[in-house]
């Protein structure tokens, strides 16, 4: 069964610092990969996605993520964090074997940004 691991429950960074949120997945092949952001009381907003091709994908709000097949990872990065980036971030995988398929989410990483 598919599973997603986000090893960091909570990360605190200073504004302007770089950020990397980790995500590892368990899947028989290369899944579809996503990063979502959730602000308090809000829904899930898609930051970026990987389906195929270039393993470095660019997303909204200056985020990028790199798919590494050998490490089964899809880590999210941002070179300079802004206070407005404080939110919860979810990594998710979609099943290539199920085109109308559900998403499997990680437990999320709560990001706090110090001014």
């Amino acid at each position: 069964a598919q599973s997603v691991t986000q090893p960091d429950i909570h990360i605190t960074v200073s504004e302007g610092a770089s950020l990397e949120l980790r995500c590892n997945y368990s899947y028989g092949a290369t899944p579809y990969l996503f990063w979502y952001v959730q602000s308090p009381g809000q829904g899930l907003q898609l930051l970026l996605k990987y389906f195929s091709g270039d393993t470095l994908v660019q997303g909204i709000k200056g985020f990028e993520a790199e798919f590494k097949r050998s490490q089964s990872s899809f880590n999210l990065r941002k070179p300079s964090v802004h206070w407005s980036d404080a939110a919860e971030y979810f990594c998710a995988v979609g099943d290539r074997g199920s085109t109308l398929g559900r998403l499997y989410f990680g437990r999320g990483t709560q990001l706090t940004v110090w001014p």
């Binding site: 899930l44 898609l46 085109t99 109308l100 559900r102 437990r107």
Partner: protein, 119 residues
């Protein structure tokens, strides 16, 4: 651009009561997904519908039922509510096209969620 609409946004119920959550997908989207996010938890898939037919089923309790109507909106019906049903319920929609199964993966767009509190 139009987004996924969920109503109500907040709902408070007593134990053993019934609740109905509604989801209005983005226009022209034909697939609806329901997810449940408990406090401090990751969203868990409940059920999905494509062209008014159930397309996938996850960890949805037997006390819950759902359907998709001819206008593609969906309703999640929850009966005999328990304290553990308190959660944020997300609906997502996507456009899967006329070929349905077998097409490439379609991005899911999420609504703002309905926060259900069971007292």
């Amino acid at each position: 651009a139009a987004g996924v609409i969920q109503s109500p946004r907040h709902l408070i119920k007593e134990k053993r009561e019934t609740a109905t959550l509604k989801c209005y997908p983005i226009p022209r989207h034909d697939t609806v997904y329901w997810y449940q996010q408990g406090p401090g938890q990751d969203p868990q898939f409940l059920i999905s519908f494509y062209e008014k037919m159930q397309s996938d089923k996850g960890s949805i309790p037997d006390r819950f039922s759902a359907q998709q109507f001819s206008d593609y909106h969906s309703e999640l019906n929850m009966s005999s509510l328990e304290l553990g049903d308190s959660a944020l319920y997300f609906c997502a929609s996507s456009f899967s096209g006329t070929s349905g199964f077998g097409v490439s993966y379609n991005e899911q767009f999420f609504g703002p969620g309905t926060r259900l509190t069971v007292l």
